[in-house]
Subunit: 296 residues, 2 copies
Amino acid sequence: MEIVEVGPRDGLQNEKRVLPTAVKVEYVRRAIGAGLRRIEVAAFARPDRVPQMADAEDVLRAVPRSSAVRYVALVMNERGLERALALGDARPDEINYVVVASDEFSRRNQGVTTMESLAAFRAVAQRARDAGFFVTLTVAAAFGCPFTGEVPVSRVRQIVQQSGPLDELCLADTIGVGVPVQVAELAAAVRGVAPLRAHFHNTRNTGYANAMAAVDAGFVALDSSLGGIGGCPFAPAATGNVATEDLAYLLNRSGLKTGVAVPAAAEAGAWIGAELGLEAVAAQLGRAGDFPAVAN
Amino acid sequence: MEIVEVGPRDGLQNEKRVLPTAVKVEYVRRAIGAGLRRIEVAAFARPDRVPQMADAEDVLRAVPRSSAVRYVALVMNERGLERALALGDARPDEINYVVVASDEFSRRNQGVTTMESLAAFRAVAQRARDAGFFVTLTVAAAFGCPFTGEVPVSRVRQIVQQSGPLDELCLADTIGVGVPVQVAELAAAVRGVAPLRAHFHNTRNTGYANAMAAVDAGFVALDSSLGGIGGCPFAPAATGNVATEDLAYLLNRSGLKTGVAVPAAAEAGAWIGAELGLEAVAAQLGRAGDFPAVAN
């Protein structure tokens, strides 16, 4: 089971403290040291809107390169793709685009309806694939919308059917409301379109159960962030990603090979928490400790 | 799916601050108000060893009684059973006894080996059943031991085979190391002995995934505590039970009837956290909020 480290992008983007480029690069180095091989490191967003991602180019130029490690960048439009292309040898390996499942959330997030965003994606995806990028689409709020409530499975299927060619499809529980039965139902509804990745937030303590349901439903990859960063555990509606170290513990001990070393991941999680000035990270393995005889 | 509220016993017993009897009784009242109908309220332990449980008799005399609500008490030996019997009309409905799966942990916890403890249980269980109690046995550390590591499934089966008659068997992940595949394997190994209950701690963020695995494996009941109390989230090796409000959210939204109202449970969890002087409880529903259209 592949774990995709999204802490340097989705995690940091939702933390208040803006980190220097060098700290972000060290976060990526530590992720690689813990065994992660696919890492979302940047978003090509407007710096005034997303200050934490203002140094996207600098991060991509500075992270260590090897054939074993793939970097992902979030692209929101043609302008973002152009920034990715302009990086030359320092460009990311993958482009991830997010479409929000409900119109209301999509309008608030991107200023357009879901289908308008999807039309923009098709154009970006075509160009990106022509340029040799691995292109993934994330359907955000696929498990529920904070403004309109339930998101029907049929709605997600309708979006996916109009996505055009994809290298991978990610179903995201952006606000952490999903439960395992939804994972199975959504997987059944979109099966065959592309290999499936899942993205869970542990906002209501269902994230790890959902991850196991994704394993059972044939998903090939799971997003997580070292430390489970991305939302303060003391704020209302904390919204951190599932934590890489805790997810790796769960999967490794379940006999699934992730390649992630739990102790090194837990150290990296604690380290980024300290860099962010957090009293404690949401991840629990750093405090509780690995359990003996766990194979990677 | 039945949720057994264990906060007033297992939860409080692992919290530093000793609460007045009246607060414990109010905790029980709030649990009942949230829809819980089976509640572990006391342990008959030595007051010098377990100060939080020193008022076991007072709690049992003060909690509201109705035919809809069943109270459980932990009994550790003949002396404990005698205390239960001496309560007359105020006696608990159920007796729960704990045997620890590994000899090392059993000796440290109870001063005897697992099989010595089991022999004592058989004598207590016989008397308790004759006196009309519903008798349950909890196998602690069934998913792993903090001193000796892995606990083989065969060891748990061996214990259960020598337990004598039981009304219910509980498999407990006392130190929160278990994963879903263990739930399935243990259930298969002991099936048919008695109806199964499971007891999870969320120490490594596997508790809720394990709870779903228990549903799939045919367990009929799950232990949890309002607020997820029982271990400080900031202490090393925090050991709280899975939280009742979060478990009820997961099960209710999965279409399983628990009878527990998530908002009332979340309020009760936050309340007991405040009574214990905790900055925050481990339960997340109180912060994140229920999600629309959830049926009980």
